[in-house]
């Protein structure tokens, strides 16, 4: 789908995830999906056991094709967790990944209002409404390519710093291993034997 086409009148698909009982334990997901269906520009709204599962993602991809969706709202967990998953999902169906938006119904709703199902459901509806409102203004974006220096700075020359430096150096990267003390080795060098194998530390 070209960027131009995606800029046309928004056609939004909303997917409310149960996340097993993680969300559905406090939020009435069916009611949220039904509510979403009534919002402007929403073409299709569904609720699903696990949106991140393969069948869950396939459903989204099918809808993008079938309903000519040009915006997607996934109402599930935090975007800090699954934003890359759903961006990839919509991209696989030809939609620009920046046209996908998430509503955080788990970390910021069901888990923190677990004893107030009514209030949690009301909040979930608000969060979905807010996400749908945001998607209307979204536009396609293309990631920017920046150069990457093929070298690593390792701060600390104890056993962990040494191991990380060696692995990276063996991989062919330049490593700058910085240690405050006059020798590397850190705490490990001061131990005699180490458990569980009782061999020497150095």
């Amino acid at each position: 789908m070209s960027d131009d086409k995606q800029a046309l009148e928004p056609r939004v698909g909303v997917y409310v995830c149960h996340c097993g009982l993680n969300i559905a334990g406090a939020v009435d997901c069916a009611a949220v999906a039904e509510y979403a269906e009534g919002l402007d520009n929403v073409v299709v709204a569904r609720h699903d056991g696990y949106c991140c599962s393969e069948p869950g993602q396939n459903r989204i991809k099918e809808d993008i094709a079938q309903h000519r969706l040009n915006r997607v709202v996934v109402a599930s967990c935090s975007p800090r967790l699954h934003e890359p998953t759903f961006r990839q999902c919509v991209a696989a169906a030809g939609l620009n990944p920046y046209l996908m938006e998430m509503a955080n119904l788990r970390e910021q709703c069901s888990w923190v209002h677990s004893h107030e199902p009514q209030a949690a459901t009301a909040k979930a509806k608000d969060l979905v409404r807010s996400a749908v409102a945001r998607t209307r203004g979204l536009s396609a974006r293309h990631e920017i390519e920046v150069p990457m220096d093929q070298a690593t700075l390792v701060i600390g020359g104890g056993v962990a710093g040494i191991q990380a430096a060696l692995d990276l150096a063996d991989d062919g990267f330049k490593v700058f291993l910085v240690e405050k003390q006059p020798s590397i080795g850190g705490m490990m060098a001061r131990l005699d034997k180490t458990y569980p194998t009782m061999d020497c530390s150095i």
């Binding site: 608000d126 807010s130 390519e145 962990a160 040494i162 003390q181 005699d192 180490t194």
Partner: protein, 607 residues
Amino acid sequence: MADAGRHPNITLLTGSEVKSVKGYVGNFTAKILKKARFVHEDQCTACGDCAEVCPVVVPDEFNEGLSSRRAIYQPFPQAVPSAYVLDIKNCLGHDPIKCGKCAERCDKKCIDFDMKDEELEVKVGTIVVATGMEVYDPTVLDEYGYTRYANVLTSLELERLINAGGPTQGQVVRLSDRRRPRSVAFIQCVGSRSQKRGNPYCSNICCMNTIKSTLQLKEHYPDIDLKVFYIDIRAFGKGFEDLYRRSRLEGAQYVRGLPGAVREDPATGDLILTVENTATDKLEEHRAEMVVLATGVHPPEEMHIVQEMLALQKCSDGFYLEAHPKLQPVDSATKGIFFAGCAEGPKDIKESVTQASAAAARASRLMSPGRLLVEAITAEVHDEACTMCGICAKVCPYNAISFDKKSGRPAKVNEAACAGCGTCAAECPASAIHMHHFTDDQINAQIDAILEEDPHAVIPVFACNWCSYAGADFAGVSRMQYPANTRLIRTMCSGRVREDFVWRAFQRGAPVVLVSGCHIGDCHYIDANHWTEKRVKRMWRKMEKLGLRPERLQLEWISAAEGVRFRDVMQRMEELRQSVSAQELAETLRILQEEADRTAAKRETAA
């Protein structure tokens, strides 16, 4: 260790400190201060002739002060680089009248008193933070008598005594009479698992370290009498339980209960431990010729320097916070920076090595393609709307906006350098900056949506992606309950929150508004949150002038680890919301409407 010293791809910089790090993933520039060693490490053969003639004697820190070293010394026999180092603070100096003996003695002439500190600049794509831990100092736990009684040692001191390369060539002796102890008592959880003193967390390594020490002692001295005083023995790793069982089979006695007091028998230097045995519910006294305190670990005192330099976050226990405790356990929240070893939490050697390899693999995965795709969240100036005031260029933390008033051309954003905080778009008086993916229109639409129904009951919260939004997620993961009328609007940085957004929320009937971001000094966009703070203060003054209660706009710094703080702030916001009456809300709408009318009239006159 030696492998790291000779690897062609590793530049070893010992006696060095990172002074500053600038840039972002793929393009970091680090300044490193390499302190003068006063010995040319590439020429020194570690023959030791210099130390033989050095007249200065100081305690040897490597051996916990249990032996001494000279002012010119090698930290330990297997040190890498294998070269001597001059401790300039204790050295008498190169004045031939005073000393200079070592330089005279060195045949290869590799001692150089004029050596200067060097500053190096390196360019790297990724950073691994492996800053380790420090061992708890038990002196403050007076009941155990460490430093008061000669025969009370720490586990690290025992480690040095039992080490063949240590001060006694592996002979375990009492410090009071240099005699081998016939009995040793270990006290566990020293500085760990205490809500009152020391640290509340389990230090992870002390149980197994003690078990190891009992086996070593039994191997050296089969007749030695060993007792271990503990709360729980945590032997959960692979092969650990076997080791624990072996220790018991070898005759080490495990007593459940921590001694309340240790006192010394002055005649013998022996120690008497009073302990409530929680297995038998009896108060017991035990005698030991030596006591070893199984000391825990804590983050290094100087950890905050690297933390601030790299804008990393810490957990409540003081160690670094990973991006996700299960799915990204070695990533920091800042892309391109990884954790290895105890920097992230107490670990034994196997775990440190495992995590270090994981960190290396994560860094390698990022660097291998030689290029990097970054999120397309960048700012763009609308040329026709730009009034050429230059404020955007001034507030950009990355110097990513070029502007020259004399040229008469609008400001221009360098997309590759723009990190996407949105501070420029928030400060632009002409609304001429389009912050892609977090545009004014998108955020306004969200504000309107959350305040569409019953705005008087809603608490709008602007939360930055890296800290306060993550803090809210952490509250969620921890199942902390807080009022359900909070509605978050995510921005990448609190610097993005334009004044207009807050006014709009109040105009839509919000009783209170919260702007939240990373703590000052922890901002993921260098110092963009300084502008947030300035802006909110400006708004408070304006609210006061207009006759609105300034406290209805709150500013809070909440880190990604502060789930508790997030919950508490939400509860406070709800109390604050309840203090706003319907009358006050009506009055607010009237005042803001009048203000909007005045602004519109002014604009009309100007036009």
